[in-house]
Symmetry: C2
Subunit: 424 residues, 2 copies
């Protein structure tokens, strides 16, 4: 019995309030991505293992796969990230779409991770990718989209920061320091990626293998001023988003496939893991398609777990989220059937209001009027419509102001037609 | 490489047009369920195997599971249906919610089925359940919700029919025929479930085991007039939905746990599998909770595959779907930057329009005006806003009527604020 009572460790149940919270996050993601002209796509939850082996992004993902052999003897895995699926779709049909391709997806992902704060084994992610445009304008558009997605939750430049960096600046610097071989550059970047999490002693030892000193690295990080960042900042300032964005060369991203601009979003207090991350991967499609598809690309992913925790922790963003949850859980109108013989007429009115998009509740069988009003108050409805001896007129009770009035049905239909139910 | 190019058999890629089609279906499901006052919930994609063994619904589902042992040595399965998860949630927290509980979910499910028409290995399902109300009013509300969900796609009583039946009528009839033992009743109902698919000879042989003749069964189906159906029909007629609903005692549903009213939706031409099905399961929560939770329940599920095929096959419903897809793939406004030195001002205008919820596209780097207009026409936008020498005024080109006018920015903001983008 015990096992029936709970979800697997790292997996979530979404009771209605949890689901409304989830839909607030995913609905906001979808809305903002659409305003940037991005189109939604998706892939299957299960993919062939081969897709992840082939990409081999150099992270820890392969070791965290939920993978198994299916009844048809195929090696399969629950998707741990979107980029391999996106690459598969693009390589299959890239010629069918005008460039730049601007796509987003909102989907669950699966990783067998150790249980720890901010990590779950099933989580949601918004993935946005812009393909076929290598310009700095494309970089700026993606970072603006990322910032606007955060702003839509009420987050300000005092709450979060986008730390922007550039792999090309690192490659140039490392070349000047004599680290030239691709594999060596990758290994050094993997060390830089841990700069904020490892001891100076350990870093010094690892860097020494490549003839580098920690002080040289720190000098570069403190003093380098890549041109691309000035242009990027100007673009973002024109949008009023300059305050959200800082150059920070400590950001290099763990995955091997990034080629240029990379960025991560953090809470300003640095109390949490990265909220989001992404960058340019201008070689990945070429490599995965054995040279058949050569398109530049830049993308990012935002997970729902750290973001949700952050929104809970700031009073203003929590208030916005809670208001959306309350709105989603409420209904608009409660129909009180005061004269049971009028149930057929009541069902007619209910059908008309629902056809207008209103969320309508009522008692499914004969019930005392007092009890129906109790349910009406608990339902979160704005008004109760009483159907009884006044028919064909109806009595309207405003459930907030407690005022009553008598309307004809045309007035009710008009009121209902003009009611705007906000989106989640 | 081959394997990289396609999804696993029975799984789907959703390119933007496919995803818009999917969102048209799921968005319509969500909207209608909400108008009936249903609240959305969800559970994890992966569940403990034990959950499905325990319920053992008597169908073929256990043999079709995508199941495996995870890295923590747990036996787990991709969810093949929602009811076990729903039961788990209800049993855990049923006291936290006012009755009746009206919940819906929209989620992917997984079954390792033979490749055949109308069946996929990953598919979407709307599940609606009403818990804690055993009244006929609850049955009618659920069947009305099912019908309104279908009507929202433009389907009429000439396209589909809800075939309603009652397991109690069958139990009463079988008792009068001497079939009394629960296991025997179940076995006979499993034979009835195949009535339309098996040969008369085979049915006759199977029924004889229980001392029954096919003719007796057929007489019962043709002549029985259960009272509940008359009351149900009256309720649906008050909503203008009477034509959608027929008594048909051949419907008994394959799953063992149904206890009363059962129903399935079919296309009138009987060219397809059932579009949806459901029924009352007043004992399941009691049995699964070892007697701790005793609540009546009625629910149904609608899959997206057969429904999508049907909508494609009827010109009127296909037109509605295609209009939604086109609307979703379009943007609202295309900004043409005719004077590149005005790009910062253009970025400001773009940000304001997007903040109003408008879907805005523009060229990410300097481009010829003619080329920008070409992109504007391809984008599906209603208007192009030209930012150039007229600044701070802007030139507006209506991309349908090809007419031009010059607006100030307040007029543009007003127009944009009043634009209603329809929901998918």
């Amino acid at each position: 019995m015990e096992i029936l009572m709970q979800a697997l460790p790292g997996f979530r149940d979404f009771f209605p309030a949890d689901c409304a919270r989830r839909n607030y996050i995913t609905g906001t993601w979808r809305r903002v991505a659409q305003t940037f002209g991005f189109q939604e796509y998706d892939g299957p939850t299960l993919e062939a293992m081969e897709l992840y082996r082939k990409k081999n992004s150099g992270g820890e993902i392969l070791g965290q796969l939920f993978s198994f052999t299916d009844k048809g003897e195929r090696e399969v895995a629950l998707r741990p990230e979107m980029t391999p699926t996106l690459a598969r779709l693009l390589i299959a049909k890239v010629r069918d779409f005008r460039k730049p391709i601007k796509w987003f997806s909102i989907a669950p992902f699966f990783r067998y991770e150790k249980q720890q704060s901010g990590r779950l084994r099933e989580f949601l992610q918004l993935n946005c990718d812009l393909v076929g445009d290598a310009s700095l304008g494309a970089d700026a558009e993606m970072i603006a989209l990322l910032i606007e997605t955060m702003r839509a939750f009420g987050l300000t430049a005092e709450d979060i920061v986008v730390r922007v960096s550039d792999r090309r600046a690192w490659t140039d610097f490392l070349t000047s320091e004599g680290v030239i071989e691709v594999a060596a550059v990758r290994e050094v970047l993997a060390i830089i990626d841990k700069l904020e999490r490892e001891s100076r002693e350990s870093l010094e030892i690892k860097l020494a293998v490549f003839g580098l000193k920690l002080a040289t690295i720190e000098d570069f990080i403190a003093s380098a001023q890549p041109d691309f960042f000035t242009a990027l900042k100007t673009n973002l300032e024109a949008r009023g988003l300059g305050d959200f964005c800082e150059l920070d060369l400590r950001i290099v991203r763990g995955l091997a496939y990034y080629t240029g601009t990379v960025f991560e979003v953090f809470d300003r207090r640095k109390e949490r893991r990265a909220l989001a991350g992404g960058g340019r991967f201008d070689r990945l499609l070429f490599d995965l398609s054995d040279g058949k598809t050569d398109l530049s690309a830049i993308g990012f992913g935002i997970g729902d777990v750290v973001l949700g925790d952050l929104l809970e922790s700031i009073p203003t963003t929590k208030a916005l989220m809670d208001a959306s949850i309350a709105q989603q859980l409420a209904c608009d109108i409660f129909i009180v059937i005061a004269d049971e013989s009028r149930r057929p007429e009541a069902l007619g009115v209910i059908g008309l209001l629902r056809a207008q998009g209103r969320r309508v509740n009522y008692s499914l069988s004969a019930d005392k009027v007092a009890r129906q009003f109790k349910d009406a108050n608990a339902s979160g409805a704005m008004i109760a419509v009483v159907i009884g001896e006044e028919w064909p007129l109806v009595k309207i009770k405003d459930l907030k102001s407690r005022t009553e009035s008598t309307w004809d049905q045309a007035a009710l239909a008009d009121w209902s037609a003009n009611l705007q139910t906000p989106a989640p």
